[in-house]
Amino acid sequence: EAEVAQSPRYKITEKSQAVAFWCDPISGHATLYWYRQILGQGPELLVQFQDESVVDDSQLPKDRFSAERLKGVDSTLKIQPAELGDSAMYLCASSKRRPDGYTEAFFGQGTRLTVV
């Protein structure tokens, strides 16, 4: 069964350092999402791609976060510089584009980031 792949699974970094996460969506899924899940809360969307284009980055802290999906396939989320409050689970998801607009997102295992 096809899965969304994420790496690394765990990352510990010092504050003010740069950190990057990678996501490979399910083959053929045009839509890719990055969510952040703070402990004890539900996931919140950071950025949504349709192919290689950003369609929603309204909740992305653009002063320190960046995301790209250059060829419309895999994606990288970067934080520079990391802050203590960035400690969270970062989840990647993907979905097919459907004519009825129905969106079923498939999630990866996530990257647990700890900033010390």
Binding site: G42, Q48, Y102, E104
Partner: protein, 112 residues
């Protein structure tokens, strides 16, 4: 404002007992509705989904959910809980061609 509410942050049930997790939404139109489950340190797994048709939907692992338009609710149920069901459960909604928005989650504890 659009929102998803899960009023119970933590629920404890005995193994073998029935379970109902509540979810209410506030949207201008009927959204697509989902329930996801998350085990500790893991990603999210889709349990079931509703976007039209029969208002009682069956999902994986013996779960079902009922959509009630009049109450703007989509409650998750299971007739007999197993210890392996202990996890966090998220109700989620999406409007056409828009992002999936999650509730805060309900953490389920199962006691022997």
């Amino acid at each position: 404002a659009q929102s998803v509410t899960q009023p119970d942050i933590h629920i404890t049930v005995s193994e073998g007992a029935s379970l109902e997790l509540r979810c209410n939404y506030s949207y201008g139109a009927t959204p697509y509705l989902f329930w996801y489950v998350q085990s500790p340190g893991q990603g999210l797994q889709l349990l079931l989904k509703y976007f039209s048709g029969d208002t009682l939907v069956q999902g994986i692992k013996g779960f079902e959910a009922e959509f009630k338009r009049s109450q703007s609710s989509f409650n998750l149920r299971k007739p007999s809980v197993h210890w392996s069901d202990a996890a966090e459960y998220f109700c989620a909604v999406a409007l056409m061609n828009q992002k999936v928005t999650f509730g805060i989650g309900t953490k389920l504890q199962v006691i022997p």
